[in-house]
């Protein structure tokens, strides 16, 4: 609804945020603020990584579940928050 839209908008306009991608359960990006090729690349790669991470967490304890995943690199930080049906990816430059 409108609240979610507002929240996403706030995230996008937050300091240091480079891009936001909403990906559905199959790994197809639904909404993005980046260009197409980058979006597809990010979505595909991160989807696999998140699935793997989640599988790992749940294998160790099936009652546990992955809340979010942060990948900090030299240039920026990629944050992935998975859900049952959707996944939100945000790329932020934290030092800005």
């Amino acid at each position: 609804q409108a609240e979610v839209e507002e929240t996403l908008k706030r995230i996008q306009t937050h300091k240091g945020v480079i891009g936001t991608i909403v990906v559905n359960a199959e790994g197809i990006p639904i909404r993005t603020t980046l260009d197409n090729s980058t979006t597809v690349q990010y979505a595909g790669l991160l989807h696999q990584l998140t699935m793997k991470a989640r599988s790992t967490v749940r294998d160790i304890d099936p009652q546990n579940d992955l809340t979010f995943l942060r990948i900090r690199s030299k240039k920026h930080e990629i944050m992935v928050a998975p859900d049952k049906e959707y996944m939100l990816i945000v790329i932020q430059n934290p030092s800005e």
Binding site: Q1, N24, R58, P62, M79, D83, K84, L88, V90
Partner: protein, 705 residues
């Protein structure tokens, strides 16, 4: 001669072991088995030799030369019935014992010649068959032939008879075909032409399927099964509710059609918090880990480290009128926004912030009238009671989506006629209804109970002006109401509470008595802004007022125990949840004063301005129940969070070897110690100086009763 035989033998065998002579000898003389001594044997051998070979005196060139002794040696030869070709030890694999086992006895039969003969015994099967073929009469068949002769009258007479007899006889053994009039007729049917017909079905659709069977996938499936079973059980119980099911079906349909983005809400919230955490990373780290190390060098002082600052765009013109931490979610707090200014009354707002996200509130509810006070229910963290400037009280339920309160008092249902200054939740009453109290300037302390869908009010006490109870001879009008500005309930004693009034008096009241106060204290010269019981010590409470003072009282004594003058109107005062001697106060000049009576009884151990602009007044302060931070609200609508330095949170020092007793008893004891010091001024080295610090000069206060 004996030499020759031996040599012959030897030449046959070369220079093999002598033991082989024996089987060889046995072979040549198989039939004859006799044991003879060597000479005899040699003689016979000799004889044979001579007969076979004639005179042989030729000595072969490779003959062994033996000495006389050796030539005279005797050799024993034995003739046995053993087959020299039969193996001596046969080993067969025994499956039963799974090993090779030697066979005990080896067959010694050696067959030299075998010829098959062609004689048959007359009674054998083959012989009979042959006889039957040739037509020779059998002994048994003679009787049959006599009887059959009469029957058969075929041409060919006797021969026929014989033949028929033969056929009869043959019946018993074999049915023979008649040689003369047996006709065999064969015919071939038409072979139907073979045709091959085949059909092919459409192959079933194939899809490639791959999956992993992880531990968690199995667990998920089991969970689903369990849920299904539970649902079935519930359905079995609630069978007659068909309408509900239909309603549910409709709901589910609607859900699938609605916007996809609603499901991203939770994830979006997490991401927002993460993004904020990144931006304010240093603040978050400070909040958690920073301890001001320089406090070690400052004995009796502490500092406040500014952390997050919370502001909401839509609340810019409003001032913070109430703050409350949530007891269950330690990072969530509520801010009530409104205005203290009588002339500038307008809308208000109820905003909830979490420490995890300082840029945007978690919940916000706009209201028509300014909020003046709020309280979050200690057990049900989603219920919030709010008091408004226009005298209404309302209860919000955070779980519900709508922006209106779930309950609101109206003029019909006993709302106050003046601003509501304080609300407080109480324990659930006997019917398990939630209820809360409110105090207002119209002089009433009212109890509100949430019954089903409405608020039911009960006047608890009416504050009347002290001294006007007795009717004067002037025929004064009926006693006017005092204006209550704050109240607080005792932590342990449920019915006991204090009310501060606009006249500067504090009344100690009980829920049981509606017209009488238990006690009245002449507290301040101006309105009492806040009155709070100590969190640990059951007798101590604190009060503050716009007359620049903060006073600490023992409720059994009518005069204050401590008085502090802070040089500016004091907006709010709060006890700390971790120590009975620490409290903090905020003033209108933008400073926060933190006192620790255990360290310094006269002065604040920390006085710090926390807002940039000097004109900003600080209106409220609250300690977080768990973390060492305080939040301060000001009249510009900002809430600042500050971290207390270690000196401000000091605990009594541990004595070596003694385990430090933890818990509220320690705190109570601490306070009690302080109070006892004051109550016995004789022992306090004859000090008559004041215990307060004011600008007016020392005031001698009499503690002695």
């Amino acid at each position: 001669m004996p030499v020759t035989h031996k040599t012959l033998v030897k030449s046959k065998q070369g220079s093999n072991a002598q033991s082989q002579q024996k089987p060889l000898a046995a072979k040549t003389a198989k039939v004859v088995s006799k044991k003879k001594d060597e000479d005899d044997g040699t003689e016979i051998g000799e004889g044979g030799d001579e007969w076979m070979h004639g005179k042989t005196l030729i000595k072969p060139p490779d003959q062994l030369d033996l000495t006389e002794a050796e030539l005279k040696e005797e050799f024993t030869r034995i003739l046995t019935a053993n087959n020299p070709h039969a193996p001596q030890n046969i080993v067969r694999y025994s499956f039963k014992e799974r090993s090779y086992k030697p066979i005990s006895s080896v067959d010694q039969l050696a067959v030299h010649f075998f010829l098959e003969g062609n004689l048959l015994h007359r009674d054998s099967d083959e012989a009979r068959r042959q006889k039957a073929k040739q037509g020779l009469p059998d002994e048994k068949a003679t009787v049959v032939t006599e009887t059959e002769d009469e029957k058969l009258e075929t041409p060919g007479g006797g021969e026929d008879g014989a033949h028929s007899v033969d056929s009869k006889t043959g019946k018993k053994e074999q049915k023979l075909t008649n040689q003369f009039n047996f006709s065999e007729r064969a015919s071939q049917t038409l072979n139907n032409p073979l045709r091959e017909r085949g059909c092919q079905t459409e192959p079933p659709p194939r899809a490639s399927f791959s999956a992993t069977a992880n531990q968690w996938e199995i667990y998920d499936v089991y969970l689903e099964e369990m849920q299904k079973q539970e649902k079935n059980k519930e359905k079995a119980k609630a069978v007659p509710k068909k309408e509900d099911d239909k309603g549910k079906k409709k709901l589910t349909l609607v859900e699938t059609q609605s916007d996809d983005l609603t499901k991203v809400a939770k994830v979006a919230k997490i991401i927002e918090r993460m993004v904020n955490q990144n931006t304010f990373d240093d603040i978050a780290q400070d909040f958690r880990y920073f301890e001001d190390a320089s406090d070690e060098f400052r004995e009796q002082e502490g500092t406040l480290l500014p952390l997050w600052k919370f502001q909401y765009d839509q609340a810019k013109r409003l001032s913070v009128t109430a703050l409350c931490w949530n007891q269950s979610y330690k990072d969530l707090f509520a801010v009530g926004l409104g205005s203290y200014d009588f002339t500038k009354q307008g809308r208000g707002m109820l905003v909830f912030y979490s420490l995890k996200n300082s840029t945007y509130p978690e919940y916000n509810y706009p209201t028509t009238s300014g909020i003046l006070c709020l309280d979050i229910h200690p057990d049900r963290p989603y219920l919030v009671a709010v008091g408004f400037y226009d005298g209404c009280v309302a209860v919000y339920n955070l779980k519900e989506e709508r922006p209106e309160p779930v309950y609101k008092s109206s003029s019909k249902s006993g709302k106050h006629t003046d601003p509501v200054w304080q609300v407080r939740w109480q324990k659930d009453d006997m019917d398990n209804h939630q209820n809360f109290f409110s105090v207002s300037s119209d002089g009433r302390v009212v109890s509100w109970t949430l019954v089903k869908s409405e608020l039911v009010f009960t006047d608890i006490i009416k504050l009347s002006l002290v001294g006007a109870v007795s009717e004067g001879p002037e025929g004064v009008p009926p006693p006017t109401m005092a204006c209550g500005t704050s109240f607080d309930f005792h932590k342990q004693i449920n019915y006991l509470f204090l009310v501060g009034t606009e006249e500067g008096k504090i009344h100690k009241c009980s829920k049981a008595y509606s017209s009488q106060f238990l006690e009245t204290y002449d507290a301040h010269n101006m309105a009492v802004d806040a009155v709070k019981w100590n969190q640990f010590h059951p007798k101590v409470f604190i009060s503050c007022s716009s007359d620049w003072t903060v006073k600490i009282w023992d409720h059994t004594i009518r005069t204050p125990v401590f008085i502090f003058d802070l040089n500016a109107a004091v907006g709010d005062v709060a006890w700390s949840p971790y120590s009975s001697t620490v409290f903090a106060a905020v003033t209108a000049d933008g400073k926060v004063h933190v006192f620790d009576l255990g360290i310094n009884k006269y002065e604040a151990i920390c006085q710090q301005p926390v807002v940039a602009k000097k004109k900003t007044k600080l209106t409220h302060i609250e300690f977080n129940p768990v973390y060492p931070i305080i939040i301060v609200g000001d009249d510009r609508g900002y809430v600042t969070s500050l971290k207390l330095s270690p000196n401000l949170r000091s605990k009594p020092k541990e004595k070596k070897g003694q385990e430090l007793p933890r818990g509220p008893e320690v705190e109570i004891a601490k306070m009690e110690k302080l109070l006892s010091l004051l109550r016995e001024p004789e022992n306090s080295k004859g000090r008559t100086e004041s215990w307060c610090q004011t600008d007016y000069g020392p005031q001698a206060l009499d503690f002695r009763r």
